[in-house]
């Protein structure tokens, strides 16, 4: 039976794979430890901010002319509906921590949790 890999390279391969797994684990850990609950959901289309909604108040907001529907519930934001066929943004689930993002590639739209202070003064209108 022929060996598929030369032993020397097999060892090097395992090191590479182990290093990558450690990198992924380390990054995940660092992100988890560094996270904090965010204050608002920031909606961007083509990289430009179009809307901000406080996570402290529950609400339903159609985005981008109705292409996606953003729901804020119990301090979490998620997309409930989208007009794209794969619905990947809906499957990305709920976000509540600073920096977490839901991305909708077809509509070039992102929802990001930002800002620790949830009562953004620029939003209490009336």
């Amino acid at each position: 039976m022929k060996r598929l890999f030369a032993n020397k390279k097999l060892l090097a391969d395992l090191c590479v794979i182990l290093a990558l797994l450690l990198l992924a684990g380390g990054l995940a850990l660092a992100l988890r430890l560094g996270r904090e609950a965010g204050g608002q959901a920031v909606v961007r289309v083509d990289g430009r901010v179009t809307e901000r909604h406080s996570l402290a108040e529950n609400g339903v907001y159609p985005l981008n002319g109705g292409s996606n529907i953003l729901v804020i519930e119990n301090g979490e934001a998620f997309l409930r509906e989208a007009n794209c066929p794969d619905l990947l943004c809906v499957k990305q689930g709920r976000i509540r921590y600073n920096g977490q993002t839901i991305t909708c590639l077809p509509n070039r739209l992102t929802v990001t949790v930002e800002g620790g202070e949830s009562n953004g003064v620029d939003f209490t209108v009336g």
Partner: protein, 151 residues
């Protein structure tokens, strides 16, 4: 070489019919099988040609306008990494394929970051992990193919 491109395209299509496990960007990268094979059996220029042509044609046929930019940046980064590693000759094609898979994801993330300014750091661990697993799978199969198929 034309046959390899056709094969890579068919594999891309087959893969697009497999439901995604729910996390965007996580996929097996079946077409990478052909690229890794070509890299070892045909040479780096052929592998580059196959990979880039495949990305272009597949985006044209099955994708939408935005997908070309993502796929192309992923494929290009992945190619450069794999070609350099192959030249370095310290790793077998399993590790080369693993690095290729991870770099493919990294390229797409970079493009998402460049195009949309999205905060993509959250995605990195998931994509590194999935790229590694997919890379091992593709790499092992490629190793067998490279060994068995003589041109």
């Amino acid at each position: 070489m034309a046959m390899c491109i056709a094969l890579a395209m068919i594999l891309s299509y087959v893969e697009s019919q497999i439901p995604s496990p729910g996390i965007p960007g996580v996929k097996l990268g079946l077409a990478n099988l052909v690229v890794v094979f070509a890299l070892y059996r045909l040479g780096w220029k052929e592998a580059a040609g196959i990979s880039l042509l495949r990305v272009f044609l597949v985006s044209l046929l099955f994708g939408h306008a935005a997908s070309l930019a993502y796929s192309a940046s992923g494929a290009a980064l992945s190619l450069v990494g794999m070609i350099l590693l192959k030249k370095w000759d310290k790793l077998s094609c399993v590790a080369v394929s693993v690095i290729g898979g991870v770099l493919h994801n990294a390229g797409q993330i970079l493009m998402a970051w460049a195009l949309m300014g999205a905060n993509v750091v959250w995605y990195l661990p998931v994509l590194i992990l999935s790229g590694t697993i997919a890379g091992v799978a593709i790499g092992v199969v490629s190793a067998i193919l490279v060994k068995r198929i003589k041109l």
